[in-house]
């Protein structure tokens, strides 16, 4: 009996790892394989890594794809654009999301649930639809321009769409709940007596926020920022729908390499580089943070 139970336990533990291997590491390995392959006209548009010919086993591998993308400032600039978009929108999400999360967490439980549902309801409609809705709102003949012209503030419609501000707007709107929910998770557990205690000990509201509330909600801030920052770096749809030609983003470049230029090795090399550049700082940060938390707990 006990032996059987243990066996079941082993499977129970391994299922998530199996999932991770099948749907994360295997695809990642495939992309890595393509990224070091040689581009070729055909289907698939790259040469097999290993092939048998009359000369014996041939290895058709190259680091040229990587060398190429790092030598072309075009790719680097687009990556920096994406990083700056991710950074800006994470900061904006934090600034907008923190007061909302705090307010929701400190509401009465009955009101709190209604507020939470209101935050989640937009998720029930398609992401594409929600981004498209912004297009409708912002366009030259859109509602915002119509209203502004109607009340006489402007005579000509302002061009609000197809620039990187529209992209930031779309990203902040879409990713805001990913910031709010983890923050809420930490703030709702926050003991309000700590705020009273801090006030009582002589700390003015701003000091109380900086010295007590902020450090204690730091894990929520980190979690929310990761959930916004990481996917925004690779975000493709929002820049495609709301963005213009003023800034090119990384996701769009990868898309173009894959589907327009049909250069899978370059596209894969771009994707791999993006992941590595993003993942290493995050791993280092997580390790440092774990250490910091360990010291604090």
């Amino acid at each position: 009996m006990i032996k059987n139970f243990k066996k079941q336990n082993v499977w129970f533990v391994f299922t998530p790892y199996l999932w991770l291997v099948l749907f994360f590491f295997v695809p990642l390995a495939l992309i890595f394989k393509i990224s070091i392959s040689v581009s070729e006209w055909g289907m698939p548009p790259y040469r097999d890594l290993f092939s048998l010919s009359e000369n014996g086993l041939e290895i058709n591998s190259t680091l040229g794809n990587y060398l190429f993308i790092f030598s072309d400032p075009f790719y680097i600039r687009s990556y920096l654009n994406s990083l700056s978009l991710a950074f800006t929108s994470t900061v904006l999400c934090l600034l907008i999301g923190y007061p909302i999360a705090f307010y929701v967490a400190k509401s009465k439980p009955s009101i709190r649930n209604i507020l939470l549902i209101m935050l989640i309801i937009p998720f029930w409609s398609s992401f594409l639809l929600r981004v498209y809705a912004w297009k409708v709102l912002l366009q030259g003949s859109g509602i915002i321009n119509s209203v502004l012209i109607h009340i006489g503030l402007i005579t000509e419609p302002i061009s609000m769409l197809h620039n990187h501000y529209a992209v930031i707007l779309g990203v902040v709107y879409t990713y805001l709940p990913f910031m709010i929910l983890p923050l809420y998770g930490y703030l709702v557990k926050f003991d309000l007596n700590l705020i009273d205690a801090s006030n009582d000990l002589g700390a003015k509201p701003l000091n109380t926020f900086v010295k007590v509330i902020l450090p204690l909600s730091l894990p929520g801030i980190v979690a929310g920022s990761m959930l916004v920052f990481i996917p925004v770096v690779g975000e493709y749809i929002i820049p495609e729908m709301l963005g213009g030609s003023d800034k090119l983003y990384f996701g769009k470049i990868i898309w173009d390499e894959f589907f327009v230029n049909r250069d899978w090795p370059i596209a894969s090399a771009l994707a791999m580089s993006g992941i590595v550049i993003l993942v290493f700082p995050i791993i280092i940060f997580q390790l440092m943070y774990a250490k910091y938390n360990f010291r604090n707990e």
Binding site: N193, L194, D196, L201, A203, V212, P215, N296
Partner: protein
Amino acid sequence: MSEPFLQIIDVSKRFDNVVALDKVNLKIAKSEIFSLLGSSGCGKSTLLRIIAGFEKPDEGRILLEGKDITKLPPYVRPLNIMFQNYALFPHLNVTNNIQFGLKEEKISKEEINHRVNEILNLLELNGLEKRKINEISGGQQQRVALARCLVKKPKLLLLDEPLAALDKQLRVQTQFELVNLQYKLGITFIIVTHDQEEAMSLSDRMAIMKNGEILQVGNPVEIYEKPKDKYIANFIGTANIFNVLNKNNQIIIKELNYEVKNINNKENYVKCLIRPEKISVKKLENQSDNLNIGVVKEVAYLGSYTKYLIEVNGFEFYSFMQNSLVSDNLQIRWDDKVQISFNETSIYFFND
């Protein structure tokens, strides 16, 4: 009382039309330990929060040393509060918790270190300086919470159920420590508690609260011996309350059918109180004497004393007997007939 240290004048507070405090008036002297005692929902915590400045009263004023502090925010009031759950900062260690309040004042680093060390010594917290709050015991947390307040040298210290989170053994020890500390420092203490024993043993004076009103203020002896009404009598300790009849200038305790002879004041009292420890029982030997005879319904031996539930004419009341004096009484069993006696001076008359 001369100039009161803290004066609460006509303070009222409601929450969504529920009255939490109704025209409360209190005067608290300097350096006294004052308790606010009442069952939950009586308004004692609200009053404490108003004194601390976390809540604003709807009406009324609070004067500290004659100065109106009603509108001052908590961070400028020269008083501190110790919370029931201590509200220690979990992200800071013991030292940083204690010096948190000092860093908000404009004090030099040397002075801060000096005062922190002083308070660490006073509360025997040495060696725990670098510990996190969740690495120390409940009793130590309580002392850190106390230290965090006292290091600010407040004029007034508010304590919200200071001992409720401690286990019984530690509670008794800490009670004495608190009183000693207060005596040493001379800081005025206001303690909120629902535990009447705690209030009795800690306080110089106490106020009994019910439904947002103060029923009685007095020292523990006054409150215990001369409660204003039945509620207070029952709230503090065990109370035997009898009806009093006034017939032809005779004062008679109805249930016992006992005439009180040595009474000067023949006012029209309707009730009287005799505390259980003031009623003694003795096993009946000669059957002839049929005055003041009761039947034992329950016996509870509690070591230092024994509780007896006595029935007379269908009315039940308690008698507590010290076991040191009454080795004979250990023979008293259920359904035994006993003779009841009490001193007439220990009868307390009151109007309901």
